[in-house]
Amino acid sequence: MISEKDVNHIAGLARLGLTSSEVKKFQKDLSSILGYIEKLKKANVKTVRNIDQSPSLKNVMRDDVAVKQSEDVTNKIIGLMPDTKERFLKVKSIF
């Protein structure tokens, strides 16, 4: 069982706003899911040395070169920004 304080802490880390009734709801949901997941701790993992995804799979890399996009594409991407000034993304000041 995780506490309300834990839920608020996690939500803060995850940058998620929650109302107080939601805190209670998620406390219940998360506790029940974590309760189920507990059984994982019983697995004997002593033999596992390496947690690499798969030694047989290798990333296939391309050259690290920027590909110029047409102005049409650039404008569309700028158009998706919630707040802009000229062609710049506008962000709230952090200080």
């Binding site: 995780i2 834990d6 839920v7 996690i10 939500a11 880390l13 995850a14 940058r15 998620l16 706003g17 929650l18 709801k25 998620f26 949901d29 998360l30 029940s32 899911i33 974590l34 189920y36 997941i37 507990e38 059984k39 994982l40 701790k41 697995a43 993992v45 033999t47 596992v48 390496n50 947690i51 995804q53 798969s54 047989s56 799979l57 290798k58 990333n59 296939v60 890399m61 391309r62 594409v73 569309k76 991407i77 158009g79 998706l80 920004m81 919630p82 707040d83 993304l89 962000v91 709230k92 000041s93 952090i94």
Partner: protein, 474 residues
Amino acid sequence: MTDFTITQTHNGLKKKEFSATELCEAYLDKIQKDNKNIFAFLALTEDLAREQAQKTDEVISRGGNISLLSGVPCAIKDNILIRDFICTAGSKILENYVSPYDATVIKKLKSQQAVILGKTNLDEFAMGASTENSAFGPTRNPYDLERVPGGSSGGSAAAVAANLACYSLGSDTGGSVRQPAAFCGVVGLKPSYGSVSRYGLVSFASSMDQIGPITKTVKDCRIVFDVIRGEDELDSTVVPTKINNEKLELKNLRIGIPREYFVKGVDPEVERIVREAIKKIESAGAKIKEISLPHSEYALSCYYIIVPSEASANLARYDGIKYGYSVVKDAENPGNGLLGIYLQSREKGFGDEVRRRIMLGTYALSAGYYEAYYLQAQKVRQLIKKDFDKAFSAVDVLLTPTTPTPAFKIGEKIEDPLSMYLSDIFTSAVNLAGLPAISIPVGKIGNLPVGLQIIGGPFEENKILSVGEILEQL
């Protein structure tokens, strides 16, 4: 003609029994009529569909050759980007997001003159097993409108089952192609990790996500897979492999039956139907062997640590700053400072299941819990993978039920997230191990379809498709 397979449609077009434009209009009319009941489509891409149909008709009228997918109408899960069309991922946070580019799979389909009819409904960010988590309302199962189509690719499966598309694309992170295919009585393939490019797929859990076809027959599935597969310099995880259509000899085929997949909790009728299919392929000459995957009982727990962890990192990009819903634009409450914009944009933009998984992942990765949860899960993942490696040294493919039960009722599990998670019990281990698997319809309980899952070794898509084709004929 909307009930035709890809091959039948292709032959009809070639013999000029109907034009691609007529076919496209027939599908659009049917969607107009039936989508309000089923709600498989979130949005239509009619202009693109008509343009592609016209291109096909021009080639045919010139007497040219058309590819198998040319002029054939399809539907695309709404977490795959199509240039200049909205891609919501089933979420309010992307409600107005217009894709600036095509996903690689879309580029490949467009180059074949595929007729893309529209975007299909899904659980928000592909998180769910019923399509009830869509921010835009649930899709209904065409076999019983009171029941779910499965999920998260519920719209894509329902569209094919209801003849609103000849085939569709879905994505599968823990069963999201196979489980809805099973519930809707169609074929669904989750390719090997590294078979199909994910460039332009909205990221969910990057060590497991794969795009896969949903079709009416296994043969159709192979046709679509052969088109969308293959390397792409825009997705470094795709492994260069060749198309393999080698014929499989039934008498040399060794089939494994994992005993952990026939346990308490499986509907006895589902078990009976699946065992009948196994018996049929045995009588036809295949060798059946019972095997064990001893770490199966941990698969779902392992999955529900790794997937939320990856999701919590992937979904950090939706911050109310770069794109997507932002409280900045809310005239009444434009957010208080930078932190306020993060908190409130994500609170209003994400639904419950997405927030649940982000929190679960954040918890599993947080200081003090990382070793007990995330690291432990990664180790168990290796054990699960080893179980499969061992199995595939003795047999060619594994057969299991795709799901423990047929389609459940709308509303039945939505209030209890854990019971919803249990719907993935037979599908999630496959994603943890990066294997290919296909679900094919093998029978019905009353009116409700039952799916059989065929699992293969890494990049053995040809084997599971071949076994699927054999079973389809028996």
